[in-house]
Amino acid sequence: MSAFITQFINLLAAILLMLAFAMLSQRRILSLIYLYTLQGATLVAATAIVGYVTGQPHLYFSAAITLVLKVLVIPMLLHRVIDRLNVRWDVETLINIPTTMLIGIVLVMFSFYLAEPISQMSSTIARGTLGIALACVLLSFMMMITRSKAVPQVIGFLSMENGLFFAATAATYGMPMVVELGIALDVLVGILILGVFMFHIRERFDSLDIRHLEKLKED
């Protein structure tokens, strides 16, 4: 039974990785938000299952926080932001998508290689998935780098936090409750502030392209 559940957690981890890749290859902001919601839902399932297997009730709480925050509140906020900013159209990427994916696969190999000795030291049930969690973090990081518009960057940031959260669950059965609540609040406040920023960037430059921010002087 335990082996079966480990396999199920592995499967959920693999789905997280697949969703990270799907985000990397996605051009549309609306689809990005749907993928982010799905990623959150997968994370909820993974956390709840790890909590159930290990009998750690605090993981149920963090699953519940994840559910409320990352599946319901944040996607809703993002939907409202893109509605108000009217930015549903395709976003351009700095590097073309097949190249991005090729770099992505190198990142995956790198993180699998890096995580292997670490996960051997761990004794948790989901230790094998540490490499996947690391790969998710790096892939989201690359998504932030290769997108030039503000909204996909914010989604990249949020999905990076998902990867970190999964890494914590996989390696150490989650962080202490206080830390977890703190991070959850940070993310919520972060998205609110970034939302305000987006409106300001748009107001100032008539565009959400953050390359405008690199200019120091007025033309």
Partner: protein
């Protein structure tokens, strides 16, 4: 080898030859239903084959012998592919003839011949179709190989019957690598079988057609063979997908009863798979030809990640 093995082998080939047009008809039926059109008869592909076999053969003046030989080569490749993919039984005398890599090679052989034949007559459309076909083929092939390698890693063999045997008799276990491989395989089969996100099988619009452009110059029994081969290819891909990812119900023991049970199981799985394919085609839009490399690169990367995950998780 014994009589039982030969019996199941012959049964499999006959079944593939007979069922392949039916599968095409079934998919067309569902496509029409899902798009609110009045559906053609389920047996329409048979009628079309019958009609074409009785029509006069028209050959271009400049057609070489390659052009005349191609339909038979393509049909032979697809029939052999159907013969080595275990659909009903894993006890197949022909299966040592070709493993998973040779299967990809068979598809490649058919592709090379049909592309050469399309260029042979010298019409613009044939050349255009051949180029597009080769573009898609060279991107889809590595992805297909990677998918088959993911399955081989689990069973430590590239022989299709051994792979399916191992997968069908494992303990209840979830292989994340197979999930990746399954998605990649679906994308590759959509591209290879001229299905909607990549090519529209029902169009003769010169800007978009790929497969239809290749066989534009063919007529009569040649066209019938090529149409039949296309159905066989779809059948082979569907059966390979079902055998790799849903291998339950395939007979392995040397008992007629198991074969008898495998047949309705296969038909049920194919019916479900065909309906799902029609649904997938109806909800997606045809993509631009320049987006196809992106689509197939995604398939390739998913398959590679499947292998990497397999190595990482060590299952």
């Amino acid at each position: 080898m014994n009589a039982q093995g030969y019996f199941s082998q012959i049964l499999e080939i006959l079944l593939a030859l007979l069922l392949a047009p039916l599968l095409t008809g079934w998919i067309n039926l569902w496509r029409a239903w899902l798009q609110n059109k009045s559906a053609p008869s389920l047996f329409q592909p048979y009628r079309k084959l019958h009609k074409l076999f009785h029509k006069e053969l028209v050959l271009a003046d400049h057609a070489s012998s390659l052009y005349r030989a191609t339909p038979y080569v393509v049909f032979g490749c697809m029939a052999l592919a159907c013969a080595i993919i275990p659909t009903l039984s894993t006890d197949l005398p022909l299966s040592p003839a070709a493993d998973a890599i040779a299967l990809v090679g068979l598809f490649a052989l058919a592709r090379v011949f049909i592309s050469l034949a399309a260029m042979d007559v010298g019409t613009a459309f044939g050349t255009l179709g051949a180029r597009r076909e080769m573009l898609i083929g060279f991107l889809a092939e590595p992805a297909l190989l990677m998918v088959l390698f993911s399955a081989s890693l689990l069973s430590k063999s590239t022989s299709l019957t051994t792979i399916v045997d191992t997968l069908a008799h494992r303990d209840l276990a979830i292989y994340p690598s197979l999930a990746f491989a399954g998605v990649a395989f679906t994308m590759v089969s959509l591209a290879e079988n001229a299905r909607i996100p990549v090519d529209n099988p029902a169009t003769h619009l010169e800007l978009t057609m790929i497969h239809e452009a290749l066989i534009l110059e063919y007529s009569g029994r040649h066209l019938a063979l090529l149409e039949w081969a296309a159905s066989l290819k779809l059948f082979a891909y569907s059966c390979a997908g079902l055998a790799l990812f849903f291998p339950w119900g395939i007979a392995d023991a040397l008992s007629p009863l198991a074969l008898l049970l495998a047949l309705p199981m296969l038909i049920l799985k194919l019916a479900l798979g065909g309906a799902l394919l029609a649904l997938l085609e109806s909800v997606s839009a045809k993509m631009r030809i320049f987006r196809v490399p992106e689509f197939l690169a995604t398939a390739f990367l998913l398959a590679v990640i499947g292998m990497l995950v397999n190595i990482l998780l060590g299952v």
